[in-house]
């Protein structure tokens, strides 16, 4: 049964390998150019010199070098953002949608379902094969993306931010496997590959959006940090903490010394510039809610687990459908 599942996909696997090799070459060249610049410009050394400090001098902290680097490779960031965001969905749908739908449409199921294997075994083998090829193809892209983003992560400190977080580490594989098995399920129900693709994209985007926006910030209890408005040291933004301001009162806000909320956002004033803090007072402080940068991999693992669990549930539903509704 595994042989059949492999043989059915041999051509597509080779074609995918060729496309991935070409994409990897482009990523490798652009990624290496970023890494070279990152070191040559002294940004790497500057950041290493900060030694992970939580607070850095207001006008220091490698900010100028980092901004220059980020500005220089801004087009690259846009390129990565557009490319990597859609890769897991596209690859997953490509592998998943035809897996069952095409067999139903061509009625090859009436051939294979009357051979000496049960539908249960046939279905699990097909789905396992879909999961495997999806994991390998997206896994390669995700590993490359993680490496490719290294210098950009360091220069922008936004590795934990929406959309950037979603393109590296483990989550792309989770997204892709879920998309693939969702497409296979819809294909098993509709028997139409194109319809399965369209409905999967719709369903996937809703689920992805819901989890990223509503669930991800709540994976763990957030931390709070306060620091004075009148200061010479501000939080190190290159560390990669995930701030989420603007969500409600007190989130990323400035408070007067008596605890009364003065305004949203952040204010940092040098001690000599009295006009800067005249309206809030010398004792005012900033409050931030955030997830520290070192939670990145924990969050990645949690989110990947959620998507893999949903993928397994969808796969079980597919097998059930094939055994009990396609009769």
């Amino acid at each position: 049964m595994i042989w059949l599942a492999w043989r059915q996909r041999r051509g597509a696997i080779l074609a995918t390998a060729a496309v991935l090799a070409a994409a990897a070459a482009v990523l490798f060249l652009t990624g290496r150019s970023m890494a070279t610049t990152f070191h040559a410009d002294g940004l790497a050394a500057c950041i290493a010199n900060l030694d992970g400090a939580k607070f850095v001098p207001v006008s220091g902290g490698c900010q100028d070098e980092a901004q220059a680097f980020a500005a220089r490779f801004f087009p690259m960031r846009l390129l990565g953002l557009t490319a990597f965001t859609f890769v897991p969905l596209v690859i997953g749908v490509f592998w998943g949608a035809p897996a069952i739908a095409r067999e139903l449409a061509d009625d090859t199921v009436s051939l294979v379902w009357t051979q000496g294997v049960s539908r249960r075994r046939w279905a699990w083998t097909q789905l396992g094969c879909v999961a495997l090829v999806t994991t390998s193809s997206v896994g390669i892209v995700a590993a490359l993306a993680t490496w490719w983003y290294g210098p950009l992560n360091a220069a922008t400190g936004d590795r934990f931010q929406w959309l950037i977080y979603d393109q590296q580490g483990l989550v792309p594989v989770g997204y892709a496997v879920f998309a693939a098995l969702l497409a296979a399920f819809i294909g098993a129900v509709t028997a139409k590959t194109v319809k399965a693709m369209a409905l999967t994209i719709l369903g996937f985007v809703l689920v992805r959006f819901g989890i990223a926006v509503y669930l991800r910030p709540r994976f763990m209890e957030h931390l709070e940090r306060t620091y004075p408005v009148v200061t010479e040291r501000a939080p190190n933004r290159l560390l990669g903490d995930w701030l989420y301001g603007g969500g409600g009162p007190g989130v990323g806000a400035v408070f007067r010394a008596n605890g009364e909320r003065a305004m949203g956002g952040q204010r940092i004033c040098p001690p000599a510039d009295t006009a800067c803090f005249a309206d809030v007072g010398r004792g005012a402080y900033n409050l931030e809610l955030f997830h520290p940068a070192d939670r990145f991999w924990t969050f990645q693992a949690i989110e990947t687990t959620i998507f893999l669990a949903m993928a397994i549930a969808v796969a079980a539903a597919t097998v059930w459908w094939i055994r009990h509704r396609r009769v």
């Binding site: 049964m1 042989w3 059949l4 043989r7 059915q8 051509g11 061509d106 009625d107 090859t108 199921v109 009436s110 051939l111 294979v112 379902w113 009357t114 051979q115 000496g116 294997v117 049960s118 539908r119 249960r120 055994r323 009769v327």
Partner: protein, 294 residues
């Protein structure tokens, strides 16, 4: 008489439409049974129920005494060639044989399958998508036969073939059947193809069994009567169809006993005429057993 396929009150509904209703029939072991009927009569549904691709909404189906199940043991006993003889288009003929070998275990007869395809000059290295309709049908039949099934079910296997390919296919099939204990259930639109090849007949009409029985018995008990246009119908016969011209009347009849009527001339009936007579008269029917006609 041992029974290969038996159904009792078998019914299948898709959504709100009944594809098959109250189908009770049995096909003895070793027979070649033809299933005929107009489009939408339920032939495909009956065949898919017989091989376990579908499950009954009501009633029961049993193959050699067992309901078809979705497991290796049950699936090993049936061979099925679906309408349009589906194969994996991107896989070669040799790949298909390999699939069969891997999925069917010891029962699979690799040698005879290869020999069969070689005899038919079907190129093993060609993708099935590039084969002709006749060759695809032969590959499908080869796959089904190589399983060495006890029951072979063929759903309109020759529908898409030209007359010559159709004849070759059926001749091949009959050769295989003669050499084995195989029971065959075969549906076709082309009734002439079935004559002299099938020895058991099932006519399905409007999702029900209309006629069921041994072909020789059916041919012996039916006849075409030619007689006067205005004369009374002879006693002791049931009229299936009647056609009248100005001068004479032609009846297709089922004879319940010996008939003596000097005014009517009796002629033997061909299988095709018998089938067409019943298909043209959905109200008539003949079934074995105490209830006789319906």
């Amino acid at each position: 008489m041992s029974v290969a396929l038996e159904t009792t009150g078998l019914a299948k509904r898709y959504g709100r439409t009944w594809a098959l209703r109250d189908c009770t029939l049995s096909v003895p072991r070793g027979r070649v049974a033809a299933v005929v009927g107009p489009n939408g009569a339920g032939k495909t549904t009956l065949m898919r129920l017989a091989v376990g691709l579908r499950r009954p909404t009501r009633g029961s189906v049993s193959v050699f005494g067992q309901a078809p199940r979705d497991d290796a043991e049950s699936l090993a006993r049936v061979g099925f060639v679906a309408q349009e003889t589906p194969l994996y288009r991107d896989l070669t003929v040799a790949d298909h044989l390999e699939v069969g070998r891997r999925l069917n275990g010891d029962r699979w007869d690799s040698t005879s399958a290869s020999e069969r395809l070689a005899k038919l000059s079907i190129p093993l290295e060609r993708r099935t998508g590039e084969l002709s309709g006749g060759q695809r049908a032969q590959v499908s039949l080869t796959m089904a036969l190589a399983k060495r099934p006890d029951l072979l079910v063929l759903d309109e296997p020759v529908a898409s073939l030209d007359p010559l390919a159709r004849r070759t296919f059926l001749a091949e099939l009959m050769g295989e059947v003669a050499a084995s204990e195989l029971t065959v259930l075969l549906s076709s639109h082309v009734i002439a193809d079935l004559e002299h090849r099938c020895d058991y007949l099932v006519i399905l009409s409007d999702s029900r069994v209309q006629v069921l029985g041994d072909v020789d018995d059916l041919l012996a008990s039916h006849a075409v009567f030619i007689g006067p246009a205005d004369g009374p119908v002879p006693d002791g016969v049931s009229v299936v169809t009647s056609q009248r011209t100005d001068r004479q009347r032609s009846l297709t009849v089922r004879m319940d006993g010996p008939m003596r009527s000097p005014r009517w001339a009796s002629h033997p009936i061909s299988l095709e005429d018998l089938v067409l007579a019943y298909l043209g008269a959905p109200g008539a029917g003949t079934l074995p057993g105490p209830e006789g006609s319906t």
